[in-house]
Symmetry: D2
Subunit: 366 residues, 4 copies
């Protein structure tokens, strides 16, 4: 009823931005996966706020403690719970939010949904901070997917109106993967990268924010993954992706562009590829036909809205008096959350695909 996702491998995310702790329980995670703490920390670090131009100065170490499900360096098969303490709380910053909801935030809808009982501090359970436990879960799922040689790679495909070169949907080369893996700001086209950072700086300076898109590829998936209709790959993936704060759009393969094509342009003809395998010449369908993987890379793009918190005065309504008023959101905020959203999108994809792989292969093949 909200913060739980999955069928075979269920994640349940909890916590509030300024409560005692945030965390995740992962129920149904496979036993015997090496708990690679360094890898998990590196994934968490990709999401954590840093002091560069893109990010806020709130310093949360995002140090996790594993409470259960890991023993002798391996997963036990029992539920894994990890928590991250909230160490840097300035509750007083937020008291006004109970009456004056911030535009584009969930303050107002939470007020209605929970009859004003919600924890209003920092957006409570709706805070982007709740993506930290998702990244933890995703890192573990990536480790489990590695045994199938399934890998996830992504880049910032746009910031504002600046666009990166799109993925070659048919063939994402090892060079591309290596290139992106090394970058803290994963953009393929160096010029675009510079323009994007300039745009983010501009937004920062003008107390504004800017949105963007992330293109993600999942490589190594077997053909035949997913189920028809409402448990198709697109359905499963979209359920978790739209659970990430600030996501407002999602397309697979050529997505919206494909809707502007003729069938003769859009259809992906089958062929025998260089390795002698059945493949398609193009990949407008993003590796998914009828909800089921075709063996081509699964490609999807996510639209991230600009950070809702901006330093400028905005109009809002006082919920107590029912009158219009002004609000200026205090604190420091990321002018662009897209870079930090990259590992979050990947984490969500990892969680979804591990669940789908478990449905396909079972928890314990005979």
């Amino acid at each position: 009823m909200g913060s739980t996702f999955g069928t075979c491998c269920k994640i349940s995310i909890f916590g509030e931005s300024h409560g005692n702790a945030i965390g995740v329980t992962i129920d149904g995670f496979p036993a015997g996966i090496n708990f690679d703490e360094e890898f998990i920390k590196s994934e968490m670090a990709r999401r954590a706020p840093s002091s560069n131009v893109f990010s806020t100065s709130r310093k949360e170490a995002d140090e996790f403690e594993v409470l259960s499900g890991v023993f002798d360096g391996r997963t036990t098969g029992a539920p894994i719970t990890a928590i991250i303490r909230n160490t840097n709380q300035h509750s007083s910053d937020y008291e006004g939010l109970r009456t004056n909801p911030r535009p584009s935030h969930a303050d107002f809808t939470a007020f209605i949904r929970y009859n004003n009982n919600h924890d209003v501090r920092g957006g409570g359970h709706f805070s982007g901070r709740l993506t930290a436990p998702l990244v933890f879960a995703g890192a573990l799922c990536k480790l489990a997917l590695e045994q199938y040689e399934i890998h996830i790679i992504s880049h910032i495909s746009s910031v504002g109106d600046i666009k990166d070169t799109p993925f070659d949907k048919v063939n994402i080369t090892p060079e591309t993967i290596d290139l992106l893996s090394e970058k803290a700001f994963p953009v393929m086209d160096e010029t675009a990268s510079e323009l994007m950072t300039a745009l983010i700086s501009k937004a920062r300076i003008s107390a504004d924010s800017v949105g963007g898109t992330i293109e993600c590829a999942v490589l190594g998936l077997p053909a035949g993954l997913g189920s028809p209709m409402f448990d198709g790959v697109e359905s499963v993936l979209s359920q978790i992706i739209f659970g990430i704060p600030a996501v407002k759009g999602l397309e697979f393969g050529s997505g919206f562009s494909m809707s502007a094509m003729f069938g003769s342009q859009a259809n992906d003809e089958f062929c025998i590829n260089e390795d002698g395998d059945i493949a398609t010449r193009s990949n407008n369908n993003g590796g998914i036909l009828g909800g089921i993987t075709s063996g081509m890379p699964v490609i999807f793009k996510t639209a991230i809205k600009p950070t809702a918190s901006i330093g400028r005065p905005q109009k809002t309504v006082n919920l107590r008096t029912g009158t219009e008023t002004d609000i200026t959101v205090g604190g420091r905020h990321d002018p662009c959350i897209v870079p930090r959203a990259v590992p979050v999108i990947e984490a969500a994809a990892a969680v979804a695909f591990l669940d789908m792989m478990l449905l396909k292969n079972g928890y314990n093949k005979e």
Copy 2:
């Protein structure tokens, strides 16, 4: 595990394009809803193939028989099952599909997923024909939503590169609703409408097809509907929408355009509207904040790929011999399925929102 959707009100769709029948079971539908047969038939008729320029000449009456759950003209509360007999089967047309998968169809992925046991005729369970029972379910759900004065309206927002005027996301007037309700080809801008039909005709004549987008609005929803994270309105809606064949993209509010905005442009400021209610001045978030409805219209746009079946020769692979070969898809096919997809999208939205309303209000309020 595929064709089942929902929590409180579960739909389970069954059938294959050329099997005995297709249909749907709706478990958990509220008791005491008037079974307005004329309305349901009119919804089915909106989806049914007709003899105009957009559609194929296959004549399926789509006559449904209700097997259960309706008594004395009202729903009983027990599961409702309706079936539609397949009366017009040309199985011989399709035998070749077992070896030669059609590009952009699910023939290949079904072959892998089901180890070649799938019913290959007409795409089997993956056929667009399976949207007929979804429209039946949606029509019933619309009737149930009417008691809350929730209404769904939509228009074809693009065909190929021709675009209709977008909805005014803040205020969809009764005039707009009336206008669209009367049109068989629901486009607001008359010029765009003519250009679209011309484009569809062009595709038809050139044995090609063309895609498009549908913008849909859900009006009258209470604020506070939906749950955080993975059961947010976007998550729930996307799961069912991506279950519709040919859907490759989905965005809420301004969606991908919003990702290109600055926060100062994108944020929806709160105000007191003319009725004295809390509202927002703009609605880039599409009526959803933190996954929960704000009381503004819920607006979303769906990308529909061009009909996969086209009359031109295409490349494919013979699955038996493992060699490349040509395929020409026989039969008559819609050059553009977007008009027929309109009631399907609405039906999916109706099913999803009824389920969300039942979670909010329960099956039987005290």
Copy 3:
């Protein structure tokens, strides 16, 4: 929300006793299972009313029509729907039930639950007749379990106070299986069998009914099946078993008797059995430890209440006037439904174990 069960393989049962048809949709059933029509019919026949002493004279052929999911004699992997037409409706018999609920039936609770919109004829969706589609689903699941050499066998362990010899929980011999498979009235002890039939006849003659218990064994299950806590074998099985009308109790292994033992009596010590496998010397735990199968036979016993419909006058309340009144339930009714419940219990077990096997092995092992 009621009549749907399962995770990987979902069954959704629909229909009302005197509606157009009853049936079941099975979503997620494995592809490529031979559709052995004769076997399914024989299972349906075990449940169908017959003209012997145990049963009513209502003659329902229980002939099913398969609408989807079967092609060329094998399951396709798409949802399987089968329906059974209701051919023998005497609706007039039941009109009084809307005001005068029958004791021990669901008439009153359905009246409240559905605000008097329920189909009252013959108990509507609550009728024992709804077990026919469950037996259909169970027969299919038995066919799927056969590939793992998993078999289900059961006997009537008591009728009234007459008890059959209990199963040897450690070793159910092929002779026992053969003996029970051949019997229309599956009781191991011939003397008990005669006493039971005499007791049923006595109940019949005195316009009364009698209950009983069924002991069921599932053989050939691998060790390691099931998940901890709420998805343990007992939890999964109990959810479906208690969904069968008239079931009021369920115990695993020695169950309630085990609760009266000392640990030194109850504990099942491990040993190496004659085949060199790890086994237990006794099986008071019924083949389940911590919710997970041990490789020993899974044994459970179900308590079936006496048929609620009896020919004697009983007290009830007129729901319109709110006053006490008498009711005599018309029609002919089984004096004992236990014999007909045997295939139903087995069917439920087959559905539950197939689902658990699919979770373990996946739909498509790599």
Copy 4:
């Protein structure tokens, strides 16, 4: 996939007996419920080990820390997570369990299920200690049920072959409730109570254990709660009850005794009771007809097997060598867990009924 339960209000239990912590996440819990810490602690204390005759001397304070979902003394509507640190770990006690599984414990099945990756210490996730977070969740759910005036009361109905007076299923008086609420060892018949404690002492002295049964009543439930077939009250309740370690049987109303009755004895005739409400004269059906509550008390009895850990040598198999061997389970263990299981059964019932009430009434009635 194991340790998660519920539809609207989902609980997810995590932890291992000797890991860092155990706990529970409750997703979908209603907002605005007073967090009555004293009450919750008193419920936890009922389950905690004490130094009396029934219990072990392991001293776990069972002090919980709430990480999320509670703010200003009220629930926020966001997921509630509470953890209990494991402070008293003697891991060395348990190392032998990896090779020598304890009879009647889950050591062997966990070994198979998790390919020997399970945390073997103290039974890991299968430990009875995992009922502590269930009691925490149940205490919160009891607080939420109080607003509907729904109360749960229970007594030890048997220990070994000693039986308490059964509940009057039609009318559980306030005196009975008061009497039982005050007792640490809740038995109604004082003589039975003494015999039970004597039997437990006897088991303790002889390094043995003894089982028992618990009869539980849920009072104040509205009629019309529950859904047909697989979401009936019996189905929902049984799924969670059988998730409690050591539960091997469950019956509703007169249960197994009812199966030995004639219909004329068993049927609960309707009447107008003293308050002018529709009721039944008897309550053999335990307040549930067709899976739906009738407004009578819901009564169920649970069979608890004797504590698996006993101080006597037992036979087992060395999993490494595959040979039979002896095991003597070290440490101190409860000779009878039935008294401590009482609050656990109540907690499970509270969780299940709150979930059912939320399905009925919604999270936020209009």
